[in-house]
């Protein structure tokens, strides 16, 4: 598997990837917990999983795809949907300028 210390050292990178920066006061504790948890995950190395098909879902016999037919959207709700946004401009969501 992987070098756990290395994993812990890359916490800053992970936080950037996951967009979940923590307060400096919490960062050390988070890193320690993360290190312990990832170290524990190494238990899976004990198992030989060669040729085992991964199981990503327990789904059995799901509903098939629907017919590709147009369905009415809910235009009457667009105001309510926009009303949930922290900031809007006219009929649009507003974000900080990126260029």
């Amino acid at each position: 598997m992987t070098n756990n210390r290395q994993a812990a050292l890359s916490m800053a990178k992970l936080a950037r990837l996951g967009q979940t920066q923590s307060e400096a006061s919490q960062a050390d504790q988070l890193a320690q917990d993360f290190d312990r948890i990832v170290s524990y995950m190494a238990i899976l190395n004990e198992l030989d999983t060669t040729n085992i098909e991964p199981m990503y879902s327990p789904m059995v016999d799901p509903l098939g795809p629907r017919d590709d037919e147009p369905r009415p959207s809910q235009p009457q709700k667009s105001e309510a949907i926009l009303g949930q946004a922290p900031e809007t401009v006219g009929r649009f969501f507003s974000v900080p300028r990126i260029f």
Binding site: T20, Q21, V60
Partner: protein, 485 residues
Amino acid sequence: MTDLWRLDLAQATKGLKKRDFSVTELVSSCLARLKATEPIIDATLAVFEEEALKTAKELDQRGYDPSQELWGLPLTIKDVFCLNDGPTTAGSKELANYQSVFEATVVQRLRRAGAIFLAKTNCDEFAMGSSTEFSAFKPTRNPWDPTRIPGGSSGGAAASVVAGQAPGAFGTDTGGSIRQPAGLCGCVGLKPSYGRVSRYGIVAYASSFDQAGPLAMTVSDCARLLTVVAGPDDRDSTVSRIPTSDYLNLKIPKPADLVLGLPKELWPEDLPAGLAAVLKEAKKLLTEAGVKFIEVDLPNLRYAVASYYILASAEASSNLARYDGIRYGFREPKEDLVEQYAQTRAEGLGPEARRRVLLGTFVLSSGYYEAYFRKAAQVRRLIAQDIARALSQCHCLFAPVASRSAWPLGAFIDDPLTVYQMDLMTLPLNLYGGPGLCLSAGLDPDRLPVGAQLWGRPFDEMGVLGAGALLESLWPPLERPKIVS
């Protein structure tokens, strides 16, 4: 009649049908009970008093409708189900002021059946936790001892039912979040098979594990609630086409016809003595009635916690990516977009949600995907095969729902790995996808409920509910805790 809140769902319907009392009287009794108990247990996040009384009055005016299975019955619902006339926070600051514009299929089906929602119940943030201490708003307290946790993540739902705030509730179970709080609070909780109940409109945590289900005071009440919500929904393609059963018509086996498997990995020798004694006595009652027990092996169970937390965290990190402060939810305004994302999520997500996002991001990241995520999915296959093999030798597996009774608030709040490991008793079933039922085996010496659970084959809810009803009939009924004088 001042104690209508004590009625279970079946008793309430009987009384409503005979006009012994009105829907308004029933709802008023539950609301009064809610107001009296809430300062002690903190089970709810929003109460719909006015709306509930209005609906009750309308139903009273229209009169009993036998076509509505839950006519006039008050329920509470975990705050991860979207309602279009109330808040949906998922226990998170991210959604503190969120008002959904659509409703969960479960909610729609319950409303159509005549149920009345009294309150949204508290939960760990985004259903990530097993104590309800990770709610961004407040911890919920156990009705048997308010210094202790109610379990989680559906801790508010379980506490509300046991406290008599409503005769039934809905929760979700991703790694045990219905069964474990039902066990720690002393009610019945059913996790249906993955794919039995639509997940549409439920705030997602881990999409290949999440499943909605009922909590109530009796097995037949849970069966009744399942009847209303089970079955295909064209808004959730993961719901199975396998036909639902007539869950109301429970087939209770004769004791001598029931074979229960005991996975030795779920009966550790170091169970606390008080808890072990209750389970031993419960097993003795079943044996004396003629139930047969066999030992079964789940050889890969010791890998279940690692497999689950890798997979569930990976799914969580993907699902929680939507909380970016743009279209809805909390925003920490910044000049720069990327900085805004980061600050919004840093401020809006609590410690456990952040931990799981980081873990999920890690196991999905380049260089680690094969070693962690794919490996965990392969191990999931092995564990599912173990459970299927064990269930081929018996009707249901039988085990404690938790390795300890409700613990004091704060006892493990700084020890996430230990809490993850405590989920070993419940989460393997979510890896497998079968149904599970938790019911009370009795009280331990500290007068805290001890839960036992049954695991069944996928879509054999009938088998699990039937066996559960038999156990319920053979065990002494659990009294309600005295919360207020």
